[in-house]
Symmetry: C2
Subunit: 346 residues, 2 copies
């Protein structure tokens, strides 16, 4: 059989001391849910990460709002910066991980400063990408740096890598998906229990599956951001976010779902982008999905993305679209690509 | 939005004349169904391939049994070698694509000669990988060459890339899947029509979905080869192919399927590998799959692979597992990785 690793690499909890290359030094800005997940992966799976990366990946510096908060991971030996933008200029940081969120300061100046300095950036920040993607791409190109954003779409599912690399031989005709776990959880619960939207939303908020202000999710804006990123990759074009048709799930009633079910359908919030004669058509809205189609039974907080290529046909990827573990898994995958020098150009 | 390509790259049918890097020269051994598909992709999608690869990919030399056969693609300008092994020594060939099949000559000496010469190899040959993988890995390591085999498992679905790179931050607990399209087509048809195995097999043979000698597929050997490759990647260990438990679908009756259905199950031929206290357990056999589980409704010639990682959770990939287009899509994706210099080490 093919050996991926030449030796037996999985000595639990031990790091590869034999690896000759120096470690990749990471600076993390933002130590919330996802940041904590990244620290845990780099600690708990250090052996696997080092084997895949060809060298250890070490967090050397961090920045967050609260220095004293218990994150379940010790920050010993990591330089602390009160100002996250300082990570871009820290000579002990090879790559910046931006997990602050938001499309403006401090996330934007941090990412811009790092890229301009030729320092690779890994981010989960879809708002930043959606609002300032062209600016970021130019900064990355000019600085000769790479920008990884697998974690910005569909959590741990490698959809960005699949579109950029796995299906790179294909002319993509269509990309579509269930891109927002909050909406899918609400629609699934409404379907299963015959409940009304408002009741399920209130419950989801209690369980932490929906934000106190849920409009970004339930009005389809979050799904539209992700769709715009997927469409740009799938079709190799700039996507005008303002031209994306967006409709959320506020007006879906228990009766709609019951009628759809009687007709053999389920209601899902889909993002759909396709190549037409007139250009790229992108839209997010509730859809009637035939009960036996693959997307119909992607339930709860799961996400799924379907891509159709001219040679490969239909490929579907499914998995957890959010949460500390899946999102951090995507961030670390991007770091491994940086360590290997195989990160894709922006 | 983030731009993947800086300019508008999709001028249909035109190649990038502005690309400064010299093209990647490919030598293809074997011009059957998949080889013809590779030629068609590199012709029809030359613009997309060049944009993703950063430079054109050009077939400069070929070898096949029959020089005169009509493949729907002209071989003008490609050097012809009667002996495929000569491709390894052709100084006008940067990378060898091996699509001859079979675990011995001429596939094996060709791949070995190319790797020893430090020439990257892309192959769809799972029999070769299963029988001589350790030898190939050593040759690749010593020669400093890469060996791409995305096309060897699950056709166009990027499962190899997902395990090697997309989920590289995770300790994989389990990998499982529907890995043989012939078996899945037969089981799906038996289910849909209540037919017996022998009748559906005879029909599948007429339609070209099953070989004249179908034993390699229906006895589970093909699925076991693919499972062994997946397990080696997922768990980072050599997998002893002789230790894989293999049971095919010959003995599945219409009655079995009917009973399973009554109990809420479907019968699928699954390959399952998991990490246990005692080591890696790998097996291929017909399974009762709960009707509402994601694998249950992967029907017909579709393949699917499920991987479970400690941080990412469950990720499933689904698509066409065979055929000229999907398999050639995977071959060209590997060539693009070679052109970008981002092919993974063996």
């Amino acid at each position: 059989m093919v050996l991926y690793f030449k030796k037996e690499p999985f000595l639990p909890g031990k790091l590869y001391m034999t690896l000759s290359q120096r470690s990749l030094s990471v600076g993390i800005a933002g130590l919330g849910t996802v940041g904590g997940g990244v620290l845990r992966i780099l600690r708990d799976n250090a052996d696997i990460v080092a084997a895949h990366a060809g060298r250890p990946i070490t967090v050397t510096a961090v920045s967050a709002r609260d220095k004293t908060r218990d994150r379940g991971v010790k920050l010993d030996g990591m330089r602390w910066h009160d100002d996250p933008v300082a990570l871009a200029g820290d000579s002990g940081v090879d790559v910046v991980v931006e997990l602050i969120g938001g499309s403006e300061a401090p996330a934007r100046p941090l990412v811009m400063a790092a890229l301009r300095a030729g320092k690779p950036v890994v981010t989960a920040n879809k708002a930043l990408l959606a609002r300032h993607g062209v600016e970021l791409a130019a900064a990355a190109e000019n600085g000769g740096a790479t920008l990884g954003f697998e974690a910005a779409v569909a959590g741990g599912i490698p959809v960005i890598k699949t579109l950029r690399e796995g299906l790179a031989a294909n002319r993509i005709r269509r990309v579509a998906g269930i891109l927002n776990g909050t909406c899918n959880y609400i629609l699934t619960s409404m379907q299963e229990r015959g409940s009304e939207f408002a009741d399920v939303l209130a419950e989801a908020q209690k369980l932490g599956y929906a934000e106190a202000d849920p409009s970004f999710d339930i009005d389809g804006v979050d799904a539209a951001h992700k769709l715009a990123i997927l469409a740009a990759l799938a079709f190799g074009r700039n996507v005008d976010f303002d031209a994306v048709h967006i409709e959320g799930i506020r007006n879906v009633s228990a009766l709609d779902i019951a009628f759809a079910k009687e007709l053999g359908y389920r209601i899902k919030l889909l993002g759909i982008a396709r190549r037409t004669e007139a250009g790229i058509e992108s839209r997010v809205h509730p859809c009637m999905v035939p009960q036996n189609s693959p997307l119909a039974r992607v339930d709860g907080v799961y996400n799924a993305v379907v891509a159709e290529g001219d040679f490969v046909g239909r490929v579907m990827l499914e998995g957890r679209g959010a949460g500390a573990g899946p999102t951090a898994s995507a961030v670390v995958a991007d770091l491994i690509d940086v360590a290997r020098g195989r990160a894709a150009p922006v």
